[in-house]
């Protein structure tokens, strides 16, 4: 076998042949105690399989963090399609007392099958794959390249955690959710001195044009950082989910629980059907400017589901009493509750009446003649209530004096 070119060895790469094709491999052991930004990599192993699973979606089975492989590819273009060519795959997994980082570099386009075989073997051996935007990009690319090169495509992984989605749920209210922003703001990591992602394709083209491996030095370390960032990001996300179970004290002490993250966590919990816990998080946001409206809307829905009627009524009433309220939702919801739960038809009728006053006022201002669908709904409700009142009260008082009899805004 030919000796690896010294220039490759200088980059830590060694040539291997698979089925007659060449791939350059770089292996590095990283200590579990190594940090990426503020995050210790080994902390992944402390995450509960449940928390990890929940990051992958509502229906995801628990998965042990030790069985995961982290995958990130560098390509010759940012778009998708058959012509975009991933030339470097970075993978990280846990081996004994360290993180094993492996990089597979395609030395020339015609050698691509070897790298694909190597990556396929690695992902198929793992219990799950972790990527960032890999569901839309990296994984599709991998499969697509296998089709193109006539290599068997890897089986779809049992677990595919694409961290872009939970990251967006948690932080989109606060900042952009591209990897570099997340690293900076959530992991406390700096990419100083790194090759910008947009230039990666250019460096590979330069390498191909000149045959000089040194052009790839920056790209290799860029990819290495990408993969380690994935590990750290999983720690950060998993910890926040776990913090909910431990009553959030840890997270708050660490200053991790910003209102945005709180909202994001609540959404994840709500999606997972953990309504009580979600409600507790939303409640924290009721007094936070900028989050109140969203939290209240979500809470009324949750209270209703949980049949926590008193709290729901209090929220609806507070909502419709707000001077700048334009929404009919609190009226309709309150009326529904009064009619179907409390069976207080008089009070329900009064609420409907008030809502009708509001929509009519609005219609007059818009100079519209025809009643809107929501007005028609309210009218139907009012009619039904009138019948119920007749039946029940046998023609009793027509209208309950309410303390809110005076319509708002007059």
């Amino acid at each position: 076998m030919e000796e690896t070119d010294g220039r490759w060895a200088a980059l830590g790469l060694r040539e291997t042949a698979i089925n007659g094709r060449r791939v350059l491999v770089r292996r590095m052991a990283v200590s579990l105690d190594a940090c990426y930004g503020r995050v210790r990599l080994g902390d992944v192993l402390a995450l509960s399989p449940e928390a990890v699973g929940r990051l992958g979606g509502a229906a995801q089975m628990p998965v042990a963090p030790r069985d995961l492989v982290f995958l990130d590819a560098e390509t010759t273009g940012l778009g998708s399609g058959a012509g975009t060519f991933p030339f470097l795959y970075g993978l990280a997994r846990f081996a004994g007392d360290h993180v094993l980082l492996e990089q597979f570099l395609v030395p020339a386009p015609e050698e691509e099958p070897a790298a694909l075989e190597a990556v396929r073997a690695a992902v198929e051996a793992a219990g799950g794959v972790v990527t960032f935007n890999g569901k839309a990009f990296d994984w599709n690319q991998l499969v697509s390249r296998c089709v193109l090169c006539g290599v068997a495509a890897p089986r779809d992984p049992q677990v595919h955690l694409d961290l872009l989605y939970p990251a967006r749920r948690l932080w989109r209210a606060e900042h952009a959710c591209d990897l570099s922003t997340l690293e900076r703001l959530q992991l406390g990591a700096s990419r100083a001195g790194d090759v910008p992602g947009a230039l990666v394709p250019e460096y590979y083209r330069r390498y191909l044009a000149t045959g000089e491996p040194a052009h790839l030095a920056g790209v290799l370390s860029h990819n290495e950082r990408d993969v380690l960032a994935l590990v750290a990001l999983l720690v950060r996300l998993g910890r926040l989910l776990e913090a909910v179970e431990r009553g959030l004290a840890d997270a708050e002490r660490a200053g991790d629980l910003s209102p945005g993250a709180c909202l994001g966590l609540a959404r994840i919990l709500e999606r997972d059907g953990r309504w009580e816990e979600a409600a507790a998080l939303y409640e924290r946001l009721l007094e936070v400017p900028g989050y109140r409206r969203e939290a209240r809307q979500a809470l009324t829905v949750l209270y209703k589901r949980l049949k926590r009627w008193e709290e729901a009524v209090a929220l609806w009433e507070a909502w419709l009493r707000e001077p700048d309220n334009r929404s009919l939702t609190p009226y309709v919801e309150l009326a529904k509750y009064l009619e179907h739960q409390a069976k207080d038809y008089d009070a329900a009728a009064a609420v409907v009446e008030e809502a009708l006053w509001l929509v009519r006022q609005r219609r007059r201002l818009a100079r519209r003649r025809a009643p809107t669908p929501e007005e028609q709904d309210l009218l139907a409700r009012a009619q039904r209530l009138a019948q119920k009142r007749e039946r029940h009260a046998g023609g009793g008082t027509l209208r309950m004096p309410l303390d809110r009899a005076q319509p708002p805004g007059t």
């Binding site: 010759t76 940012l78 778009g79 399609g81 058959a82 394709p201 083209r205 044009a209």
Partner: protein, 759 residues
């Protein structure tokens, strides 16, 4: 149903009508020629056809089936409503019934046509009661449905643009389709001509290349309206030998084709009665007798004006909904409703642009009125073909407008009847187009050494692309290496397909239609009266950025018509050469079109009752042009007053000649004669490329300047007309009685100096 014969009798006896008829052609009826179902035809298909009342095939359907079964590529050319779609649906369904893995790709030029064909195909499939999946894959297909279509669709219906930019570049997601692709159906073949057709031919080269990669070798089934060269065109498009089937077996009733020239109403000025009003009156004559009629008008405004007139005339008798307008900007749902109404007979009259000329199924009508010459012989036959039942008499009347081309044709019917429809031409090896698609192809699959793509030297082009670092040359292949998605940078069509949405804000906000962006300044500028299916709206606001026009319902007695000012400026002169008394040049030009003002025109009288300015940005086309600037020496012999006509005549000849050199469609180039051009300071004829940026047509004309002029001279000399006709310098009505002579003189002066021959 009305009695067309009675109306024809009445017209014949109407001396006032007959005085304006310049030609009355009667095409005799023809019996159906039938062939039995093929013995191998699946029992289930036989049952379904029988259930639909079909007990045998027309001979052309049978011929197409047999040729397809023999494994040949087939092109079917028969008139509208001759059962053309069955020619490809039958063999495709048969193949799927025989082998469930069979896949077929259907390509239609537009989304609307694809939609229409799906309806028919789905009806057949539903009746079959077999699980055959056919899906439309276009820009409107939701992302959630795409996965299923890629994996499970037996028949995928799409358009060339989608194939080019969404399917081929992502072929690895379509493995099932490409591995099992047996048939590629291309309907409306005649639409793929000129530059657009050249692009599509290259898209098909890419398609075939990808099929080879997946080990399939599909058969092409093509269908076309009548053109002069269907087989040659089909073979140029798919680059395979093709079997032509053009013996129409469908029956035809007796058919009358009448040329009608509106009477002169102002003798001294030679003004004729409006063709719109004459078309209205003729349509009314038909409709009053309950004869189902289609009226073709040349512009969208005319469609709506005519629709309004006819609806108004029948307001009390028929109910408005029995007369409908139909054109590009209507919403799909509304169009389907109109098509259905026409088939069922619920709708008695329809006024349409050429949108209904193509293969949309509206059944067969009894009468057709062409308000103005559609511009080509092929289009005229297509439109006239909308009237023509399989049994019983039908009539088509061509009502000439006052424009010179119409007047020439109507006065020289032999010109029309003696000529075959236009040829379709393409040039898939146009270097700029070819290189564009070589890039796309390299993106899709690496090129192997020794592979070929098109007629030019592929290795040389790839070497050039490698130098540009677009591809990387490996030991035996070229690999795409640029950080780009080439298909997104290459548009198959000249005009962007962006639309302006029309929102009715009379009550709430409701989208009622759309217009393409290029027409928006003309049709939905502020204060324009926008008419939609006979209902008037006034445009309150045109949000050009957001591409929305807000309109409110109004009732006024006028409509609006906008003026378009077109200008051509030379930006750079790339090449220039003095040749005796002319200068030829080529370079970049900017063509601007700006709607400047609009007129308000009263209904029925068509008098001008007001006008207003239009404040909208110019539409710009940045492209390349070739020009001929004439020195004084070249024009010296011409009387000064005749120069504009001579220039126009020469320009018209060049428009006929240039496409032959370029293998393009006359619509791909435009000619602008200027008596004193700013850039040259002299009389100049510009020919520019209608594709944004140009596709090299201008450069090629520059290089073949002398041949072009020689050919132009041959054409004028060889033309049998007296003073000019649409086939040479243009109709006499346009270039004047001396136009032909002057154009020839000009040409001789120009050529004489270039060849050193005496003028």
């Amino acid at each position: 149903m009305g009695d067309v014969r009675a109306v024809l009798e009445e017209l014949r006896r109407d001396a006032a009508f007959m005085a304006n008829v310049t030609h009355w052609e009667v095409l005799p009826p023809r019996e159906a020629r039938l062939a039995p179902f093929p013995a191998e035809l699946d029992r289930r298909l036989v049952d379904v056809l029988t259930e639909k009342g079909i007990s045998a095939l027309y001979t052309h359907q049978r011929a197409a089936f047999d040729a397809t079964r023999r494994g040949e590529h087939v092109v079917v050319v028969t008139p509208t409503a001759s059962g053309k779609t069955l020619c490809y649906n039958l063999p495709v369904l048969q193949a799927i019934l025989e082998d469930d893995h069979t896949r077929a790709l259907y390509i239609f030029p537009t989304k609307a046509l694809a939609y229409d064909q799906m309806a028919e195909l789905n009806d057949l499939i539903a009746r079959l009661g077999v699980d055959i999946k056919s899906y439309t894959y276009d820009g409107d297909t939701p992302a959630s449905a795409r996965q299923a279509i890629r994996n499970a669709g037996h028949i995928v219906v799409t358009n060339p643009d989608m194939l080019h930019s969404a399917i081929l570049p992502h072929h690895t997601k379509w493995v099932k389709l490409f591995e099992n692709l047996r048939f590629v159906v291309i309907d409306e073949l005649h639409a793929y001509r000129g530059v657009f057709g050249s692009h599509v031919a290259n898209v098909l080269r890419r398609l075939k290349r990808i099929c080879r990669f997946y080990g399939s070798n599909p058969q092409f089934l093509l269908a076309s309206a009548t053109i002069a060269n269907p087989r040659q065109h089909a073979e140029a498009l798919i680059e395979e030998a093709v079997t032509l089937i053009d013996e129409n077996g469908a029956p035809r009733g007796e058919k009358h084709l009448i040329f009608y020239n509106p009477p002169v109403v102002n003798k001294p000025l030679g003004i004729r009665k409006s063709s719109v009003l004459e078309s209205r009156d003729l349509a009314l004559r038909m409709l009053k007798k309950e004869i189902q009629t289609i009226v073709f008008a040349r512009s969208r405004v005319r469609v709506e004006v005519l629709t309004s007139y006819l609806q108004e005339a029948f307001k009390h008798k028929l109910g408005k909904k029995r007369i409908r307008g139909y054109r590009g900007g209507y919403l799909p749902k509304e169009r389907r409703e109109i098509e259905r109404g026409l088939r069922s007979g619920e709708i008695l009259g329809v006024v349409s642009t050429n949108a209904l000329e193509l293969g949309v199924d509206i059944g067969q009508l009894e009468a057709c009125i062409l308000s103005g010459y559609p511009g080509s012989i092929a289009s005229t036959w297509q439109q006239a073909g909308r009237a023509g039942r399989r049994h019983g008499t039908s009539v088509a009347i061509l009502v000439a407008s006052s424009n010179p081309l119409d007047q020439f044709l109507i006065q020289n019917p032999a010109f029309f009847f003696g000529r075959s429809p236009e040829e379709a031409r393409i040039d898939p090896d146009n270097l700029m187009i070819l290189v564009d698609h070589i890039k796309c192809a390299a993106f899709e699959l690496p090129f192997r050494r020794g592979e070929s793509f098109g007629g030019e030297d592929l290795e040389e082009i790839l070497a050039y692309l490698a130098e540009e670092q677009v591809v990387h040359a490996g030991p035996d292949r070229w690999y795409w290496m640029a950080d780009a998605f080439p298909a997104h940078e290459i548009s198959l069509r000249s005009a962007a397909r962006e639309n302006v949405v029309i929102v009715d804000i009379t009550e709430g906000a409701k989208v009622i239609g759309e217009v393409d962006r290029f027409s928006a300044p003309m049709l939905v500028h502020e204060e324009a009266i926008y008419i939609h299916d006979g209902v008037q709206y006034q445009v309150e606001k045109l949000d050009y950025e957001e591409k929305k026009a807000y309109v409110r319902r109004v009732k006024v007695d006028y409509y609006t018509d906008a003026n378009l000012a077109v200008d051509l400026k030379v930006l750079t002169v790339d090449r220039e050469e003095h040749l005796g008394s002319v200068t030829k040049g080529c370079g970049e030009v900017m063509v601007t079109a700006m709607a400047t003002l609009f007129k308000k025109i009263r209904f029925h009288t068509h008098e001008n009752v007001g006008s207003g300015p239009i404040h909208l940005p110019e539409e710009e086309l940045h492209t390349t042009a070739y020009w001929i600037a004439l020195d004084d020496a070249a024009t010296a012999a011409l009387p000064k007053a005749d120069l504009p006509f001579a220039l126009l005549g020469l320009a018209n000849v060049l428009v006929h000649t240039a496409p032959l050199f370029l293998m393009c469609d006359p619509l791909d180039i435009r000619v602008v004669p200027q008596v004193k051009a700013v850039a040259t300071g002299r009389p100049t004829i510009f020919l520019y490329d209608r594709y944004p940026g140009g596709v090299g047509l201008a450069e090629r004309l520059y290089e073949r300047h002398e041949e072009l002029l020689a050919q132009a001279e041959t054409l004028i000399r060889g033309c049998g007309c007296e003073g000019g006709c649409p086939a040479c310098v243009g109709p006499v009505q346009e270039v004047g009685p001396l136009g032909k002579r002057h154009a020839l003189a000009l040409l001789e002066a120009v050529r004489g100096t270039t060849h050193g021959q005496p003028a």
